[in-house]
Amino acid sequence: ADVEGKPFKPRPYIYGSLNTKAFVDTLSKQGISDIKVEDRDEGCIIHLVVKSAKIQKCQTDREIIYFCRFQPKEDILIQVEQGSTHIMCGGDETLRIKIRDSLLQCLQKL
């Protein structure tokens, strides 16, 4: 079926709480090994240190020129609570997607 001419893809619903151990194992398999897990009252904080892509510069607009850069090493924080996860990372989109996909593998879906 189409919605306004765009192919309709039903989105999977993710639910439940994250299995932290399974998530850490999945990240390790992705080559992310510098992982620290700090237990908190309502979940945990996962701290990753990952070598980022080389420093990049980008022009965001023809009129307003900014030079954005990534840090050579990214400190990534993942706040895990019951029923919610917040991934805080730098601007390396490839890395963010790798972490997101690892997380989605560890959640239940409908």
Binding site: R11, L18, I64, R69, Q71, T85, I87, C89, G91
Partner: protein, 103 residues
């Protein structure tokens, strides 16, 4: 499709989840970009706000009194008041990204 009593009913996915007692996992992201920009953070906030209004015209952009910019459910905050390098923090939800079918 949900079985309610003896009847099968086609209901909205959100309603079906509620009916089944399943709570969707709330997944959010914050990406940070570092920008070499002297001057007050407010000046960069205004420039980014104008850029959002121009580039994302199909979603309304709003500038709050606390200095944060919101575009739909995407929140942009700029920090580093007196520093030469400013941080631009962009926060959004996975659910909303899927709904809008954007990458």
């Amino acid at each position: 499709l949900l079985m309610r009593g003896n009847k099968l009913q086609l209901v909205d996915a959100d309603e079906a989840l509620k009916d089944l007692g399943i709570k969707e996992h709330n997944l959010r992201f914050t990406s940070t970009l570092y920008v070499d920009e002297t001057g007050p953070a407010q000046q960069l906030t205004e420039k980014v706000y104008q850029l959002c209004k121009k580039k994302v015209s199909d979603h309304p952009s709003q500038l709050s009194s606390d200095g944060s910019i919101s575009v739909s459910d995407v929140m942009i905050t700029i920090s580093g008041e007196d520093e030469e390098t400013k941080s631009i923090l962009v926060t959004w939800s996975h659910q909303n990204q899927k709904k809008n079918n954007c990458s």
